[in-house]
Amino acid sequence: MDKPVKIRVENLTFSYHQTPVFENVNLAFEAHAITAITGPSGRGKSTFLTVLNRLWESQPFAEMQGKVWILLDGQWVDIYGKTLSKPDLRRKVGMVFQTPNPLPMSIWKNMAFPLKLTGISDKSLIEEKISAALRQAFLWDEVKDRLHDSAFGLSGGQQQRLCIARALVSQPEILLLDEPTSSLDAGAASVIEDLLVRLKERCTLIVVSHYLDQVSRIADTALKLQARGFLQT
């Protein structure tokens, strides 16, 4: 029962255009575990992930009340408070989208992008971080000879792993994944499942998934989204 907690959501209420998506949700997410979120389409799974990295804020007509706390270096930090800037939060809480979204540049530049944002300019450090993240995402062998080709030349599964690797470059403590295998065949999906299980060691993972068999394979906890709230299963 007493597992360490990484994220706490308190009294979360969220709406688009005054239509509530969540009402008074309270949740805790276990550290170094995979929490799966399931539920019917359109219930707010993707929206919930964006609450954890504040990405919803760019949507017009979205409103939120409540608090989200994450544990950083032994301290509970209110992510909507003043102590943590949005860019800093997003480096701690990485996100992988429902459809792969590489930037229109080379594989290398995609990987270097998060490092460029933080102003890291040490070439050998950049190289080291990029190859480490690509290896972690099981992509290194497939791309090591074509790092300067466009990222759009990769297959769907490779693009998805590139996006995971790109999110890993800044060594996030939490990784949000929105249906990371929905566009992949079984083989490619199982590569990503293995990857997620291994990542538990470094990160706390929250994975949206439609596939119940996948959930039972990889998840430590599963949450089902009901109308306006969650149910533990």
Binding site: R90, G94, T99, N101, L117, T118
Partner: protein, 286 residues
């Protein structure tokens, strides 16, 4: 049925494309034919390099070419940072509500007739320039005209720039945001490079408007027919020259020369477009 429809549509669109291409070619031909008396004896190039002095039989447009080039170039130099700044503000640096207001205002500005700008120039800008720079004489000079002209072309440029900004795939923007880009980084690393073709087009349209505009230069550039030596000198553009000379008598050689003048403007404009396209390249600098 749909096949027939598709065929007709294709023909109609082809015809309208052909018509506009024809119109451009016809204007060119028309200028060539009517300018012939002056162009004919291999004199076109000497027209480009000579001064304008009808009393001595000299009908060169060198002063007007420099006037047009200086005023339109300078107006883009002023308008570019202004327009780009406005679009960046609307594209995420500024608050959404104010951005919408600015957007509405810019659209409203495109509808203001040029003569209003000219008028404002005479009553507001020219006196200021006159007091600030003693060497500007009356204040009617290249600087005044290009400042006013930059206000005229900015809305056009802003609208094209904004189209470029709006065409950037939101997925790229989301990706950058989720990776921790702040609003300036998002702009510099993602939006500007993607919006680059729109920016180049905007500059071309702005330049076209600046070169083609007649009234502002006519009203506040001073219209002197000598090659300007500084931006505080009075100058005459090709367009105001055409406007001024066409008021004179129909049979004079001066009148005939304005067809060559139009032709010069046409060619100058084409060169400017090609130059900007060349410099702009296909993609952004980043």
């Amino acid at each position: 049925m749909t096949r027939v429809f598709q065929k007709t549509a294709r023909i109609v669109f082809f015809l309208s494309a052909a018509a506009s291409a024809m119109a451009a070619a016809l204007v060119f031909g028309f200028l060539l034919v009517f300018g012939f008396p002056l162009i004919g004896g291999g004199e076109f190039f000497s027209l480009l390099t000579r001064p304008w002095s009808p009393g001595q039989g000299l009908y060169g447009f060198l002063p007007m070419i420099t006037g047009t080039a200086a005023i339109s170039f300078l107006s883009i130099v002023f308008a570019l940072p202004l327009s780009l700044g406005t679009v960046c503000f609307m594209g995420g640096l500024g608050p959404a509500r104010i951005s919408r207001l600015v957007d509405g205002f810019v659209r409203f500005m495109t509808g203001i007739p040029t003569v209003i700008y000219g008028f404002l120039g005479i009553f507001l800008l020219v006196p200021v320039v006159r007091t600030l720079f003693t060497s500007a004489g009356s204040g009617m000079c290249i600087l005044s005209a290009s400042l006013m002209l930059s206000l005229l072309v900015s809305p056009t440029m802003i609208i094209f720039f904004k189209d470029g900004f709006d065409s950037v795939d939101v997925r790229y923007i989301q990706a950058a945001d989720a990776l921790g880009a702040d609003s300036v980084q998002r702009l510099i690393y993602v939006i500007l490079p993607e919006a680059w073709p729109g920016i180049v087009t905007g500059i071309i349209m702005g330049l076209g408007r600046a070169m083609g505009d007649t009234l502002i230069a006519l009203m506040i550039a001073g219209n002197a027919v000598h090659v300007p030596g500084s931006i505080l000198d009075s100058a005459r553009t090709l367009t105001s020259h055409i406007a001024l000379v066409s008021a004179s008598d129909y049979d004079s050689l001066a009148f005939k020369s304005i067809f060559a003048c139009g032709l010069t403007l046409y060619v100058l404009n084409a060169f400017a477009v090609i130059a900007v396209r060349r410099l702009g390249g296909k993609r952004g600098p980043v």
